[in-house]
């Protein structure tokens, strides 16, 4: 039950990866690379419209351009929009998880460690934020700050940080009571050292599990925000926006939603599987 105070995270390379995880790691890597090198990989400009070539099936070609995955409702190349859309989905998910994770975990750790009025104020703050409907926060933020990618990240971070806080709080409560931690405290170790050396490594596993769950969720939530008209602004393509628009074309132009949907599905699946695997790795034994 007692873990050493040294870092618990074992490098993944130390063991063989099970064959079920490797393909999804490859998929994730592929999507990330696709996002980074979008201008090189993408056949055409994702925003180039061709109003007379709307809703064309995959394989359509005109004026020397081949639209491998078809064209959308404004005649833009679906494949290029998917490639550039990877940027948006990955960036939004990563940034919002990082922001909410760091902020929320810190808050939760501090609250559980210090107890007393600090704990009360912070945990009630968590309650307050949790009881404000996320939709309300989203609409008001967009109304006040204006719509943009940054504000989407802010909205997502604002609504999700309490989750990290609650998990960090609960887990820190258990760890903080352990003999060696209390000993260190008694011996006068500073709060930063205590939190980072003793608490954080022990709760990191649980937090990373939450973070990987959240990563996939953030990709999906960005799609939900696009559905409600609060996502990234057109003409920027995000998979969520393409899926949302594509709903209206299921019968006539199924490719508009299906391909981004598959991409989204693969991304979230890969993240979830890898996250699960990491959980197994980081925490092979219970505390």
């Amino acid at each position: 039950m007692v873990s050493s105070s040294a870092a618990v995270v074992r490098p993944l390379k130390a063991r063989r990866l099970p064959w079920t995880v490797v393909p999804f790691l490859a998929i994730l890597a592929g999507l990330v690379l696709m996002a980074i090198f979008a201008p090189l990989v993408s056949p055409v400009d994702p925003n180039a419209q061709n109003l007379l070539a709307r809703l064309k099936a995959p394989g359509f070609s005109s004026r020397g351009i081949v639209y491998y995955l078809g064209t959308d409702e404004l005649g833009r190349d679906v494949l290029s929009r998917i490639i550039y859309g990877a940027r948006v989905s990955l960036l939004v998910a990563f940034a919002s998880v990082a922001l909410s994770g760091v902020f929320g975990s810190t808050l939760g750790m501090v609250a559980a460690f210090y107890r007393g009025w600090v704990e009360t104020v912070l945990m009630r703050l968590v309650d307050i934020v949790l009881s404000v409907p996320a939709i309300l926060l989203a609409i008001i933020t967009v109304a006040v700050l204006g719509p943009s990618l940054t504000n989407v990240v802010i909205v997502l971070a604002l609504t999700r940080w309490p989750r990290y806080a609650r998990v960090a709080y609960g887990q820190t409560l258990s760890v903080a009571n352990m003999p060696y931690v209390r000993l260190s405290r008694f011996m006068g170790a500073g709060w930063f050292r205590l939190l980072s050396r003793h608490i954080l490594p022990n709760i990191a596993g649980g937090l990373i599990v939450v973070a990987t769950l959240e990563f996939g969720l953030m990709v999906l939530f960005e799609a939900g925000l696009s559905f409600l008209g609060l996502g990234v602004q057109p003409p920027t393509s995000s998979w969520g926006a393409m899926l949302s628009t594509g709903r209206n074309y299921v019968g006539t132009a199924w490719w508009i939603a299906t391909f981004p949907g598959v991409a989204l599905f693969l991304l979230v699946l890969a993240i979830n599987l890898i996250g699960d695997h990491m959980r197994d790795r980081l925490d092979p034994r219970s505390r």
Binding site: R115, R124, L130, S131, P133, A143, R182, S286, R287
Partner: protein, 308 residues
């Protein structure tokens, strides 16, 4: 225990007050409903007249205290858009929200937990991998997409279920599944993690050594211990459900509170939004309180509100 309870109740009251105040002022930052109520070619004079008749020309502080004093008398105000008291609107939608939440929880809990436990107990076997695949698939699609797919397959092509609306029991099926799918995956994974953690523990090995069958160990001892993280997640998931309900209710035209909230926010129907948020805040805070209480009951080692 009762001192703790009282303390938390007081804090809950303050928290609710905090939410109401926050929402009251936050909403008004984003404009008022007058422009949405008048025709396009209304003149400045018309707009100002409307503003005055709705009381928006008074200073914010006055409007705030007016609202608070109304709350004390359980008067939640009137909807500017529909001209009826807020509580009648909320009451008319509440049953539908409860039904949807119940249905979704049934799907999430009733399918998710057993699935999670089964996956943990049969870890490494092919059926566990298949179950994991199913669970992960359910967690990898946005709600509005799975919703429209279900509508097309089950309502338009097969004609088994009504595509939308709240006519009868059969119209509750698809919305519940759509809403419960994400939560089901979460419950399954958390339950699996929690059970896996417990399986490593000594008492399980002891039980095996004593000759107890697996299902006995699981039922009698393991589940209780595995309950803590599940309880934490459950409280959060219910909040998730109510948020995700917005999309499900919009797509399926299910007349619940989620749909009402979004429409009210878009229409800047302040009183209605405040009423819904108040209801939500009280519910969420009470749920959290209950979760914390359960926490301390299940694991007496965790002493809340106390000295370390």
């Amino acid at each position: 225990m009762s001192a703790f309870f009282l303390k938390r109740a007081l804090q809950a009251f303050v928290a609710v007050l905090g939410v109401i105040t926050l929402i009251f002022f936050l909403q008004r930052l984003a404009g008022d409903p007058v422009l949405l109520l008048v025709p396009q070619n209304a003149t400045q004079a018309d707009i100002e007249a409307m503003r005055t008749s709705l009381g928006f020309d008074r200073p914010l502080a006055v409007q705030y205290f007016d609202y608070l004093s109304g709350l004390i008398m359980f008067d939640f105000g009137r909807s500017y858009v529909q001209n009826v008291p807020v509580w009648t609107l909320i009451l008319s939608r509440l049953p539908y929200t409860l039904m949807l939440a119940g249905g979704a929880l049934l799907v999430a809990f009733g399918v998710g937990i057993p699935l999670g436990v089964a996956m943990a107990v049969r870890r490494g076997r092919p059926e566990a991998k298949a179950m994991m695949g199913f669970v992960l698939a359910g967690q990898s699609m946005p709600t509005f997409w799975s919703a429209i797919l279900m509508i097309i397959v089950f309502a338009v092509w097969l004609g088994w279920l009504p595509p939308s609306g709240a006519r009868s029991w059969s119209s509750l099926i698809m919305p519940s599944i759509a809403l419960g799918l994400l939560s089901m995956a979460t419950f399954a994974r958390v339950a699996r993690t929690a059970v896996l953690d417990e399986l490593e523990k000594d008492y399980v090995r002891t039980g095996h050594a004593k000759g107890l069958p697996m299902h006995r160990i699981v039922a009698r001892h393991l589940l209780r211990n595995a309950a803590i993280p599940v309880v934490t997640v459950a409280a959060l998931e219910i909040a998730n459900l109510l948020a995700g309900a917005v999309i499900v209710e919009t797509v399926f035209a299910w007349p619940g509170l989620g749909q009402l909230t979004v429409q009210a926010i878009n229409a800047r129907d302040f009183m209605l939004v405040q009423g819904v948020v108040l209801l939500g805040a009280v519910t969420a805070i009470v749920l959290n309180l209950v979760a914390d209480l359960l926490y301390s009951i299940i694991d007496p080692r965790i002493r809340l509100e106390g000295n370390a």
